[in-house]
C-alpha cells in the first residue's frame, strides 16, 4: 500500500470510531508512517499571546503551508493560495528569520535536526492553558507532491473534526456593517485588491479603511483569516 492508500484507510476507519480522539488519531498515524516525534512540551508565544499556529507543514525549502487556529478556535488555512499570492520565495533561512514566537523556535529546533518536511501540531486545552506543542516530522524522506497533498488533507480532516466538537460562540465578535459584510463575502469568493474595489465600486482608500475595520472587529490577522472567522460564526449567512 502507498502512503496515500494508508492515509485513506486510516481516515475511513476513523470515521467509524464513535470515541474518536481526532488529534491523537492523526498523530498516531503520522508516527506509524515513520514521522518522528520530536518534542512535546509546553510553549507560549511571547510576541502574540492570542494567536497560535495550530499546524504547519513544511515541504522542503520552498513551501510553507500553515493552518492557524486563533483564540476563538477558528481553523484557518492559508495554504498554498496565500503563498502564491504573496509570492515570497520562502527559504529555510527566511522562514527562520521571518517567523516569530513558537514558529521560530520550532523551525530552529527542526533545522538543527536537518528536517526538510514536517508537521507541527499544537494541542491546546479549551480554556487556552496550557499550550502544548508536539512536533511530528520526517527527517529522512522527501515527501512527493502527491503525498504532501494527502498530508494536507489528513491534517485538515482531523483538525476539522477536532474543532467541530467545540461549538462556536459569537460573543466576542463585533457586529459588521452591511458594507463590511459585503466585502467579507466578496473576499470569501476570492475577490481581492483591484477586483474587489471594482466589483463593489469603492476607492482604494475606502476599501483599505473597511478592510482594517473588518480585521479589527473580528480580531483577524488577515482577510483570509477574517473570512474563515466569518464563515465559522455564520456572519456570511445572514
Amino acid at each position: 500500500m502507498s502512503f496515500s492508500e494508508r492515509a485513506l484507510a486510516h481516515m475511513a476507519s476513523a470515521s467509524l470510531d464513535p470515541n474518536l480522539a481526532p488529534i491523537e488519531s492523526l498523530k498516531s498515524f503520522l508516527l506509524s508512517e515513520g514521522f518522528t516525534d520530536f518534542m512535546a512540551r509546553e510553549m507560549r508565544n511571547p510576541f502574540d499571546p492570542d494567536f497560535h499556529t495550530a499546524l504547519e507543514i513544511y515541504n522542503g525549502p520552498n513551501e510553507l503551508r500553515q493552518i492557524y487556529m486563533d483564540r476563538r478556535d477558528v481553523l484557518f488555512d492559508i495554504g498554498m493560495k496565500q503563498c502564491r499570492r504573496t509570492t515570497i520565495p520562502l527559504t529555510w533561512k527566511s522562514l527562520r528569520d521571518g517567523a516569530t514566537g513558537p514558529s521560530r523556535e520550532i523551525i530552529e529546533y527542526l533545522a538543527d535536526f536537518g528536517m526538510r518536511n514536517g508537521v507541527v501540531l499544537i494541542h491546546r486545552e479549551i480554556n487556552r492553558e496550557p499550550i502544548f506543542v508536539s512536533v511530528v516530522g520526517d527527517v529522512v524522506n522527501e515527501l512527493s507532491q502527491d503525498d504532501l497533498l494527502m498530508v494536507q488533507v489528513i491534517c485538515s480532516h482531523f483538525l476539522g473534526l477536532w474543532l467541530a466538537d467545540y461549538p462556536a460562540s459569537i460573543d466576542d465578535v463585533k457586529e459588521l456593517s452591511r458594507r463590511e459584510l459585503e466585502i467579507l463575502a466578496a473576499s470569501s469568493i476570492g475577490l481581492n485588491g483591484k477586483s474587489l474595489e471594482d466589483h463593489l465600486n469603492i476607492s482604494s482608500h475606502t476599501m483599505r479603511a473597511h478592510l482594517r475595520s473588518i480585521r479589527q472587529k473580528l480580531g483577524a490577522n488577515s482577510m483570509p483569516h477574517a473570512v474563515n472567522i466569518g464563515m465559522r460564526y455564520g456572519l456570511l449567512d445572514s
Partner: protein, 232 residues
Amino acid sequence: MHPPIEIIDRQNICLYQDVLEDLWRMRCRVAKRFNWSIPYLAEGLDKDEFDRDDTIYLVILNDDRRVVGCSRLIPSIEPHLLDTVFGDYCDLKPIPRSKNIWEFSRMFVDRDYVNLVSVVKSCYLLMSGVAELSVAHGLDGVTWYTSMPNYQAALACWRQTFPIGRPALHKPDNVIYVPAFSPIDSDGLVRIKERARHEGPVTQYIHRDGVRSLGEEVNVFENAKEVRHNAA
C-alpha cells in the same frame, strides 16, 4: 427566511423546461468563472452526459424564476463523475456504490443574481436540501468531488465524511479538491440545519397537482429508478 429548494426529477420536469435551460446557462457562467475546463462551455451551456433522465436537480429560484443556485444528484450505480471523469483520483479505494448512495455534484451559486452575502448561505441551503432528501428517502449518503473548504464545511455537520481518493490541486484557483463520501443520517441533517440556521423543511416538490410531500407522497429516487427501468 430562505427560499425553498425546488426538486426536479423526470416526473415534474415538464414544469421546469425553462428553468433547466437557465440552469445549464448559469452553470456555464459559474464554471467559466472558476476556469474549469469542461466540455460544452463554448456553446454557453454546461449540460453534460450526466444530465440524464434519472438526474435529480435541486434549484434555488429568485422571484423572477431565475436559477441562482443549483446542484444535482446522480445514482452511483450508473456512470457518474467519480467513476468516469474523476476516475483517476479514485483508483486507491473502491468507490462507494449502491442504490442508496448518490453522487452530489455541480453545487453552484450564481453571484450575478444573489447578494454576495448570500453565496455561502445558498451553499449551506443546498447542502441542507441534500441532507433532507437523503433522510426523507433513507439514503446512506452522497459521494462528491469537493473543494477542501466545502469538505471542511461538510465534515462539521456530516462527521463520518472521509476522502475516497487522492487529492488534487486545481491550478486555476489553487484549491485542493478531493473525492469524498459523506454518510448522512438524521444527526447530520440536524447539524447542518443548526449551522445554517434553517428551520422547517428547505425542499419542496411541485407536481401538476400542486405541492407534494417528499418522502411520504413522492420518492424522487424511486422515480429515477423507474426511469432507468423503463429505459432498459
